[in-house]
C-alpha cells in the first residue's frame, strides 16, 4: 500500500502473540483458582477473590508501577532474569506476559468461577456415586458443564489483553518488535502525526471489539438453547 510502511504489521503480530500466550496461561492458572474459589469453604477465600479482582479497579499505571519495581533489576523479576544472564524482566516480552496475566486474570477467573458455582454440587455427587474419581468427575462433568464459562473467560481474557495500554507502557516501554504492541503503536502514530496509520489500527480495533462481543453473545445464546 502506498505510503504505509510495513512496520504497521509488526505491532499487530506481536499483540496477537501476546494475547494467545496470555490467554493460554490464564486458562492454565485461572482454572484451578476459579475451581478453588467456587468450591472452597475457607473463610479467607473472598480475600483471595478480591486480590484477583483488584486490576478491575486499580489504574493500570498503579499496577504497572509496582510491576516495574518487581520485574526490575532489584526485584524478584531481576533475580529470575539473572538465571539466563539477563538483568531485568521489564522491557521484555516475558515481562509483558506476566503483566497481562495479572491484569486480565479477573476477566478469566470470574466467568469460570461463576460457571462452576452455577453447576452446583449435585453433578459431582452424581459422578461420585457412579464410581468417578474426583479427577474423572472434573474432566468429564465439571469442565464440559462449565464450557460456556471457559469460552467467555478465554474471549474476555484475549480481548482484554489486546486492548491493554497503561500496564504495557509502564513495564514494556516501546521497543519495536519486542514490546511495542497495538495500543502503544496507535499512541505513537498519533504522537508523530501519522494519522493514517493510527486510523487503520484504531479502526481495526473497533471492528475487532465488535466482532468479539457479538460472537460471544451468539455463543452464549446457543449454549442457553442447548441447556434447555
Amino acid at each position: 500500500m502506498d505510503g504505509i510502511s510495513d512496520d504497521i504489521w509488526q505491532p499487530v503480530a506481536l499483540t496477537a502473540e501476546l494475547a494467545v500466550v496470555t490467554t493460554a496461561l490464564l486458562l492454565l492458572l485461572g482454572t484451578p483458582v476459579a475451581w478453588w474459589l467456587a468450591r472452597s469453604k475457607a473463610w479467607w477465600k473472598e480475600g483471595v477473590a478480591t486480590l484477583v479482582a483488584m486490576p478491575i479497579v486499580l489504574p493500570p499505571t498503579v499496577l504497572g508501577f509496582y510491576l516495574l519495581v518487581a520485574l526490575g533489576p532489584n526485584g524478584p523479576g531481576g533475580a529470575v532474569a539473572s538465571l539466563w544472564g539477563g538483568r531485568t524482566l521489564a522491557f521484555s516480552f516475558a515481562g509483558l506476559v506476566i503483566g497481562s496475566v495479572l491484569y486480565s486474570m479477573p476477566f478469566v477467573v470470574q466467568p469460570i468461577r461463576n460457571a462452576f458455582e452455577a453447576m452446583g454440587e449435585r453433578p459431582l455427587e452424581v459422578a461420585a456415586t457412579l464410581r468417578a474419581s474426583p479427577r474423572r468427575a472434573f474432566w468429564t462433568v465439571a469442565v464440559p458443564l462449565a464450557l460456556p464459562g471457559f469460552l467467555t473467560g478465554a474471549v474476555l481474557g484475549f480481548a482484554h489483553t489486546v486492548g491493554e495500554f497503561g500496564v504495557v507502557l509502564m513495564i514494556g516501554g516501546n521497543i519495536p518488535g519486542k514490546t511495542k504492541v497495538l495500543s502503544v503503536a496507535i499512541f505513537d502514530y498519533v504522537e508523530t502525526s501519522r494519522w493514517r496509520e493510527a486510523n487503520i489500527l484504531a479502526g481495526g480495533m473497533v471492528l475487532f471489539a465488535f466482532a468479539v462481543i457479538l460472537a460471544m453473545r451468539l455463543v452464549e445464546r446457543r449454549f442457553a438453547d442447548v441447556a434447555r
Binding site: R122, V126, T129, L130, A132, S133
Partner: protein
C-alpha cells in the same frame, strides 16, 4: 446374626436436632426409611453413600465402609444412588448417561446388562435422545437405569418419586416393583409417602427427629398399636398372600393368608402366585356373631390383641386372624361406643368383617 446386608449407625448434629440412628437392612428386598420431612432420613442415605460424613459406622456384607478409623469415599463404594431429582448429565445423551458408571469390562454373572436394564425400564426408544427433551418420569427412569448399570451392591433411593405428579408416580411404580423382584441386593428407599412404602417395602425403619423409632417387618410395625402408624387416618396392614384358586363363575380370587382366607374380586391369577394384600383399618368392622345377611364377603374369626384410643370417641384395635398363634395381624378402627356395646375385651374371639382388600404385585 449374619453379616449379609447393611449394618449402620450414624450420629452427629443435624441443624436443630441431633441425629443418632442405628439400623440394619436385609441382604435383599426394599427397606423403607420412613418419616416426616426433616427427620434425617435423607441424611442417613447420604451417610450410607459417603456423600455426608457423620461419625459412626457402616458395614455392608461384612465389608467396612466406615468406622472409627476408616472412611471409604463415595466413588469407592459399590452403590447405586437415585436422587430426588433425576440429575442427569445435561451434556451427555441418554445412552452416555446410562453408561457413565458402567464398568469398562462387562460384568460377569448376575450383573445387569445394558439391554436388560433398558428393557426393564422401558428406555429402548429414549437411548439416543438428549436429557433435555425427556419428561419427568422418563428422566427418573434413566437415572434409575444409570444407577443400576454401575453394577451396585446396594441401591439407595432418595424419594425418587416425590418430585413427580400422581400419574407419573403410577407410571414408575410398576418399574420399581419389577426391579425389586429382579434384583438380589438391598434397596434402601427413603420416603414420606406410606402408599409407596406399602407398594414396595418389606422392611421398615421408622424415623422421627433424627432417631429410629422402630425397625422391623412392615406388617409387624403397621399393626403395632404402640406406634404412630396405627393411629393415622390411613392406618393399614400390608402382607403377602398366596393365591389358592380362581373362581371364574364369580370372578373371585381366593387367597390364603396366615390365619384365614380372603375372597377378592380380580382378573384371573394362577394358583400359588404371591400377591401383596392391603387391608385398611377403616375397612374392618367387628362382629360378635357370624352374620349371614351381609353383602360383605370376608368375615374371618380373629382374636382381639390390643386397642389404642383415638381421641375421645374412636379406637384402633389390633386383631390376629384365626384362633392360632401364627395368624397375621390386622387393624380395625371402631368407635368407643361399639366396643362397649359389643362387650369386647382383649383376648376375646370376634369376627372381623373386611369390606375392602387391595392387591398389588408381591
Amino acid at each position: 446374626m449374619t453379616d449379609r446386608g447393611i449394618d449402620a449407625r450414624f450420629n452427629g448434629q443435624l441443624g436443630a436436632f441431633a441425629l443418632d440412628a442405628a439400623f440394619r437392612a436385609p441382604a435383599s428386598g426394599v427397606t423403607a426409611l420412613f418419616g416426616p420431612s426433616g427427620c434425617g432420613k435423607t441424611t442417613i442415605l447420604r451417610c450410607l453413600a459417603g456423600l455426608t460424613r457423620l461419625s459412626g459406622r457402616c458395614l455392608v456384607d461384612g465389608e467396612v465402609w466406615q468406622d472409627d478409623t476408616a472412611f471409604l469415599p463415595p466413588f469407592r463404594r459399590p452403590i447405586g444412588y437415585v436422587f430426588q431429582e433425576a440429575s442427569l448429565f445435561q451434556h451427555l445423551s441418554v445412552r452416555r448417561n446410562l453408561l457413565y458408571g458402567a464398568p469398562r469390562t462387562p460384568a460377569s454373572g448376575d450383573g445387569l446388562g445394558f439391554d436388560e436394564v433398558v428393557d426393564l425400564l422401558g428406555l429402548t426408544k429414549l437411548a439416543d435422545r438428549s436429557p433435555g427433551n425427556l419428561s419427568g418420569g422418563e428422566r427418573q427412569r434413566v437415572a434409575i437405569g444409570r444407577a443400576l448399570l454401575s453394577q451396585p451392591k446396594v441401591l439407595l433411593m432418595d424419594e425418587p418419586l416425590s418430585a413427580l405428579d400422581r400419574a407419573t408416580k403410577d407410571e414408575i411404580l410398576p418399574f420399581l416393583e419389577r426391579l425389586r423382584d429382579r434384583l438380589f441386593l438391598p434397596i434402601v428407599y427413603v420416603s414420606h409417602d406410606m402408599a409407596e412404602v406399602e407398594r414396595l417395602a418389606k422392611h421398615l425403619v421408622l424415623m422421627e427427629n433424627g432417631r429410629v423409632v422402630a425397625a422391623g417387618d412392615l406388617a409387624t410395625l403397621q399393626s403395632d398399636p404402640g406406634l404412630p402408624l396405627a393411629a393415622s387416618r390411613e392406618a393399614a396392614v400390608v402382607f403377602d398372600a398366596v393365591v389358592e384358586r380362581y373362581d371364574a363363575a364369580w370372578g373371585l380370587l381366593a387367597l390364603r393368608v396366615p390365619g384365614g382366607e380372603l375372597l377378592v374380586p380380580s382378573t384371573p391369577v394362577a394358583p400359588a402366585t404371591r400377591r401383596r394384600v392391603r387391608i385398611a383399618a377403616a375397612d374392618v368392622s367387628l362382629l360378635t356373631e357370624p352374620q349371614q345377611t351381609s353383602s360383605i364377603l370376608n368375615a374371618l374369626p380373629a382374636r382381639v390383641l390390643a386397642r389404642r384410643p383415638l381421641g375421645e370417641n374412636e379406637m384402633v384395635v389390633t386383631l390376629r386372624l384365626g384362633a392360632g398363634e401364627d395368624g397375621v395381624r390386622i387393624l380395625a378402627r371402631i368407635t368407643r361406643k361399639s366396643w362397649e356395646k359389643l362387650g369386647i375385651v382383649e383376648g376375646k374371639m370376634v369376627w372381623a368383617q373386611v369390606k375392602g382388600v387391595s392387591l398389588a404385585q408381591a
